[in-house]
């Protein structure tokens, strides 16, 4: 017939326990005049949230705030790699003094590293069918034992709730605390993927690459001598056929690192070294 009622009661109690455990590390963040958002006490004295106005990373929408040390329990973090599609999860929020709020559902999809439309590099693809209600942005994704696996963002995708996993939160939080922003690699060019003409393709054994459309003055590319019309066909020995390979080498802690570019110029292969600089920050 149906489940023993005590089993359902046990599941219900377990979910409420998970909410109470993880909810103890949550704060309501009143950054906007009307609706608060949720913050997670990620490590002692540091709250991680989204969309707040200070110490914010536009690439991932994460922001950090400082609170008094020892004022509330610190988040118990989980390992997002253990979550598989179908796992029961909760989205939590704290909007007022009334205690944590919860939405429940299942993990929908997981995967590897990806880049969100705001430009930030996210270490793991983690989506669920949870409803991210008003004020739930910045709140944690929690498993059935109350472990926190990341921070939910209302702004990164529409159909499914997207979670910024623990590793990405740690990385962005550290940079925001150390320098107030997340440094991203930059070489100062505009590019377009192209195919090489058949003769050059045949002669150089290269299919295509990235055509330089413009080179900014006083940028790493111009200092290295790259010219408009050059086609970058390999980076550090790896063939390039789109933007992803370039964006990958510009992500992470790369400022000051040297890239060896293989470039087709006037039908000949030339090798050019570019030193990655920090992307200038607009509207600072």
């Amino acid at each position: 017939m149906s489940d023993d009622p005590t089993t359902l009661a046990t599941l219900s109690e377990q979910l409420a326990d998970a909410v109470a455990t993880a909810g103890a590390a949550l704060v309501a963040v009143h950054a906007r005049p009307r609706l608060p958002s949720t913050g997670v006490h990620w490590k002692d004295g540091v709250v991680v949230t989204t969309e707040a106005t200070v110490r914010r990373d536009g690439g991932t929408d994460l922001a950090v705030l400082r609170i008094a040390s020892g004022s509330l329990p610190v988040a118990r973090l989980g390992d997002p790699a253990t979550l598989r599609p179908g796992h029961l999860v909760l989205a939590l929020a704290r909007l007022d003094e009334g205690g944590p709020r919860a939405a429940f559902g299942a993990v929908s999809a997981t995967g590897g590293k990806w880049r969100c439309w705001k430009g930030g590099e996210i270490d793991r693809w983690l989506q669920s069918d949870l409803d991210i209600y008003p004020g739930f942005g910045g709140g944690p994704l929690v498993d059935a034992t109350g472990r926190i696996h990341g921070v939910n963002s209302g702004g990164l995708s529409r159909a499914l709730a997207t979670t910024i996993p623990v590793a990405t939160v740690n990385r962005v939080m550290t940079q925001l605390l150390e320098r107030g922003y997340v440094a991203r690699g930059w070489i100062g060019t505009a590019m377009q993927p192209v195919q090489l003409d058949p003769a050059t393709k045949q002669r150089l054994k290269r299919a295509g690459g990235l055509l330089l459309l413009s080179v900014e003055p006083d940028a790493p590319a111009s200092r290295a001598g790259l010219l408009v019309g050059d086609v970058v066909v390999a980076i550090d020995g790896t063939s390039v056929d789109g933007f992803d390979q370039l964006l990958d080498v510009l992500g992470g802690d790369v400022v000051g690192k040297k890239l060896r570019l293989e470039v087709v110029r006037a039908g000949q292969l030339v090798s050019i070294d570019v030193v990655i600089d920090e992307r200038p920050r607009r509207g600072r």
Binding site: V19, G98, F104
Partner: protein, 195 residues
């Protein structure tokens, strides 16, 4: 934990046998208006916005349509009570929403978009006034059961129940995507003195 595939089907089956369809007027248009709860004896609880006049038609789980009289109406709390003698629908068991914690399993039974006795499941968010920024034309300061459960037109007046199928509230509306229900103790207050 051993969770079999039947999940909430037992409590849902029990509760579905205690939920009626309600339409306003003497000759209701099927169950399109909303849902009602067999509360005790001949008394059925629904939302005030489901029954706007003094008469209502209830449709039993067996599909029988019966005339009913609206004997109480609290527009502010959005609760109405309909008396329908001879309906012969077993009464629900009520539960205490204040005894549940955030994250507890809850489910609703109603007739969303006319689908009879549909079950939707989720978790409790809070039993409190609405958070700041969730607008509700001044009614946000009333205490509402707030739940992460899907409601649609046709759920109004139907039950929100805990994992054991005890009715903790009456589904009223959706605000900012959150399901709102009137707490069972408030329903009892509207019923006070009726037998």
């Amino acid at each position: 934990m051993a969770m079999s595939t039947t999940f909430l089907s037992g409590p849902a089956e029990q509760l579905r046998a205690r939920v009626v369809g309600i339409a306003h007027g003497r000759r209701g248009r099927g169950a399109a208006g909303g849902a009602g709860i067999a509360w005790s004896g001949d008394l059925f609880v629904t939302s005030a916005h489901v029954v706007t006049g003094s008469h209502a038609t209830i449709v039993t789980p067996a599909g029988r349509a019966l005339p009913g009289e609206v004997v109480r109406r609290d527009a502010e709390r959005d609760i109405a009570v309909v008396r329908a003698p001879g309906a012969n629908v077993p009464a629900v068991v009520t539960g205490d929403p204040y005894g549940l914690r955030s994250g507890s399993l809850v489910f609703a039974v109603g007739h969303p978009f006319g689908v009879r006795d549909a079950v939707t499941v989720g978790v409790l968010q809070a039993v409190s006034p609405l958070p700041r920024g969730y607008g509700l034309n001044g009614k946000g300061s009333l205490v509402w059961i707030q739940a992460d459960v899907r409601l649609a037109p046709g759920n109004s007046g139907g039950p929100l129940a805990d994992a054991q199928g005890r009715v903790i509230g009456v589904a009223a509306m959706v605000v900012s995507g959150v399901a709102l229900a009137v707490p069972a103790p408030d329903v009892e207050r509207v019923l006070a003195g009726l037998t």
